[in-house]
């Protein structure tokens, strides 16, 4: 087993009196594709938001690459190499698809530079073009992000998350609202990406991830229900009960 890249230690998150996440501890191995699954209301999104730095945990620790990063700000997560895509499409609507990716790629090179012309930073322009090509958006390069079709916007999300070359990629329901064909393309892309870096994704539909993930984390009522390989999970009676009880495996 390789060293864990991201460790959640006893993560708990309250919203007022409601406990959305209860004492969840998971170690994510580097270089693997892991998926967080669970029925509606299981606390997947809360867990994702805590892991990606959007919410602070009420208690518990997050350790990335051996460093305690609990309570770091959102932009610091990105700077350390943790990129994420959002469940609800979250782009820069008036900017072109290319500019969306270019500005995401720019983060590593220039944040407060007020004098260098952007046009001279050709490596960023080329990188953005290469990423658009990779997610199949080369033809939509100059369209404002808000004019893209839903599936294209989802792909743009991925391109933006990839733009700063993260060590860890967190994807929140990357196929939400996609057609079956688009879903297949997206899953193929995710498998390709997982060959290069650590990927953690949150998914509602268990079937989608069973075939491609090396590791599954099952949440239920904000607690860790099971963790293991897809085979382990498939054989787990409790997981079955939870999913079957819901009627839609």
């Amino acid at each position: 087993m390789s060293a864990p890249i991201l460790v959640a230690e006893g993560l708990t998150r309250h919203f007022g009196k409601f406990v959305a996440l209860k004492n969840v501890s998971v170690a994510f191995e580097g270089g693997k594709l892991s998926a967080i699954i669970g029925p509606n209301g299981a606390g997947k999104s809360t867990f994702f938001n805590v892991l990606s730095g959007a919410f602070r945990p009420t208690s518990g620790r997050i350790v990335f690459d051996g460093k305690d990063i609990t309570g770091a700000k959102q932009h610091q997560f990105a700077r350390m190499g943790i990129a994420k895509s959002f469940q609800i499409t979250n782009l820069f609507p008036q900017l072109s698809a290319h500019e969306n990716v270019r500005v995401a790629a720019q983060m590593r090179y220039a944040r407060f530079d007020i004098l260098t012309p952007r046009a001279s930073m050709t490596q960023l322009i080329e990188r953005a073009d290469a990423l658009l090509e990779r997610v199949g958006l080369a033809a939509a390069r100059n369209q404002p992000a808000r004019d893209l079709a839903h599936g294209q916007q989802r792909s743009l999300e991925i391109a933006m998350a990839l733009a700063c070359d993260p060590r860890l990629l967190l994807l929140d329901e990357p196929t939400a609202g996609m057609s079956p064909e688009e879903t297949i393309t997206m899953m193929d892309l995710i498998v390709q990406l997982a060959a290069e870096r650590t990927v953690i994704l949150v998914e509602h539909k268990m079937k989608l991830v069973m075939g491609i993930c090396q590791r599954l984390i099952v949440l239920h009522h904000g607690e860790l229900l099971a963790e293991g390989t897809p085979e382990d999970i498939r054989a787990n009676d409790e997981v079955r009960r939870v999913y079957l009880g819901q009627g839609n495996p």
Binding site: S52, A54, K73, Q74, H75, A78, R79, A83, K84, F86, N90, L91, F92, P93, Q94, L95, E99, R102, V103, A104, Q106, M107, R108, Y109, A110, R111, F112, D113, I114, L115, T116, P117, R118, A119, M121, M160, A163, C164
Partner: protein
Amino acid sequence: MGGFLDFVSRHRVAAVVLFLMVFPWVLPYEALAVNILLFGLYAMGLNLLFGYTGLLSFGHAAFLGAGSYGTGIVMVHYGWPWYAAILLGVALATFFGVIMGYLAIRSRGVYFSMVTLALAQCIYYIFYKAEKLTGGENGLRGVKVEPINIAGYQLDFLNPTTKYYVILAFVAAALWFVSRILGSPFGAVIETVRENERRSAACGYDVARTKLLAFVLSAMICGLAGSLRALHLSIVPIDALHYLTSGQAVMMCLLGGMGTFFGPFVGAAAFLLIEDLVTNVTRYWQFVVGVVFIIFVLFFPRGIWGSLLHWSRR
């Protein structure tokens, strides 16, 4: 038309400077041209924050006034030469920009606007009460610009044409600076903050610091406008700090087209031309400006220049 506008946009600094060089010759008198120059620069400073970063400040008169008073006070009371006094005026505006920005960026949306308004009112009263230095209600009088020699050539501010071109030189430098900011990596980051703050943070940008830097740069540009205005008027009226002056910059941006490079200048020109033409007919020129403003906000939210750009690109 589209090709021409693209050409102008590509060489925007050269285009606007060239235009401003012939500008006083097409207007009825030069004081109006200088006014448009100064208010255009002032509105452009606000536009950096309002149009590009998406933060609506109702307190930018504080920076126009700080620039004016900073320059005026050291010239009247301490006998500084005007070029050094400009530096001090800009520095004072920048200083206020840091303080106001630091406090205001903690809140968002309409609360941000209210905080800027409130802080600007504080600055208004500080200058209003410091009568010994600022002249209080009467304004600061006697900002006299001594003629200076540059390589044997007399620069005399009493000659309106000379004054126009000296001020234009400073405005041109500021335009170049703003254009550089907008074309820089930071210029892209402020647009992401306007578009989607949450995503910008997720991309690794420190939103709070980005806003603060945008705020300070914006204050600096407005400070320069104020500083030059003190030289132009040779007095500093207390109105410079008044909240109506803050509102004027917002109106000029909206009228011309926020978030466009030329918009603020077009807006300032439209505003001041309407004022100039209508005052010949009636005292109630603000009524006409108000009606025009409402028409634009309701039917042409992109403003004059913004709508032109939009139609030409369709």
